[in-house]
Amino acid sequence: MIFSPLIRRRRTSSRMLNSSSLKQEFLKKWIMGLQRCTSSNKNMSILERKKAIKLSADLAMASARNGRTSWSRAVIANASRESDKRILAERILQGPESEILLKKVSAMSVRMRSKKIVKRSCRSVRRSVPQKSLAANSIAKRLVQKRTHVLKSLVPGGEFMDEICLIEETLDYIAYLRAQVDVMRCIATAPELIIKRNSE
């Protein structure tokens, strides 16, 4: 396994993340983002508020990663690109720290898009498959290819990644998603628990 030391070196930065400090970081950024959204618009509909909550949670998660992974940069880039999210996203991502992050993201996304064009033109030149490949083996390989394609659509920025990056980014992304879900669940269920405890 020639590549494993390379990957292990890249991954230590994500493995060293302390779960509870990550959650604190996420919570702080999420609450700040949420306050920025709701302070100006007091009479949001439920749907609007849900979008604000979700967007500030996603952006908080991405900025907690500080632009060091592709998926986090893709989350921010996608939010700035979609017209209905852009205004909200800009409001959430205020401050000097976010300015640096946004500059990094826009620089990277230009590079990514040109990479995709190059990749597309390379893919059109296909090598012929050797005749000796077993039918069962090729079916399994095709299944892996299909599932990889699905995974690329699920991880933000996945379609720009090669296979190795995709796996690393997936692992990091899942860890952060879990932290996000845990924190959101705590906040959502805290009121009932507190009330129940006080009434006992």
């Binding site: 396994m1 849900k50 699905v150 998603l177 996000q180 959101m184 805290a190 009121p191």
Partner: protein, 91 residues
């Protein structure tokens, strides 16, 4: 170096070595795979369970956002829940 290797081979497929690494990491993260033996889990199954897991996490974020939005909608009401949320979210 590793990306050069995959580019030279022409095909954009995940190799077995990478799958072994992925399985060992995913086993700790994805609940479905944790209870199975690593050598018995094929690559396609790992990828499928990973995709399902990510999808379920996305769904949960969506549900929780919905729930929180409804809670915040009662922020002007006098309920105890609203006041707790209010103190958490607003300044």
């Amino acid at each position: 170096m590793s990306s050069r290797r995959s580019r030279q081979s022409g095909a954009s497929r995940i190799t077995d070595d990478q799958i072994i690494e992925l399985v060992s990491k995913l086993r700790q993260l994805v609940p479905e795979i944790r209870n199975r033996r690593s050598d018995k889990v094929p690559a396609s199954k790992v990828l499928q369970e990973t995709c399902n897991y990510i999808r379920s996490l996305h769904r949960e974020v969506d549900d929780l956002s919905e729930r929180l939005s409804q809670l915040l909608a009662t922020i002007d009401a006098d309920s105890a829940e609203a006041s707790i949320i209010r103190s958490l979210i607003t300044q």
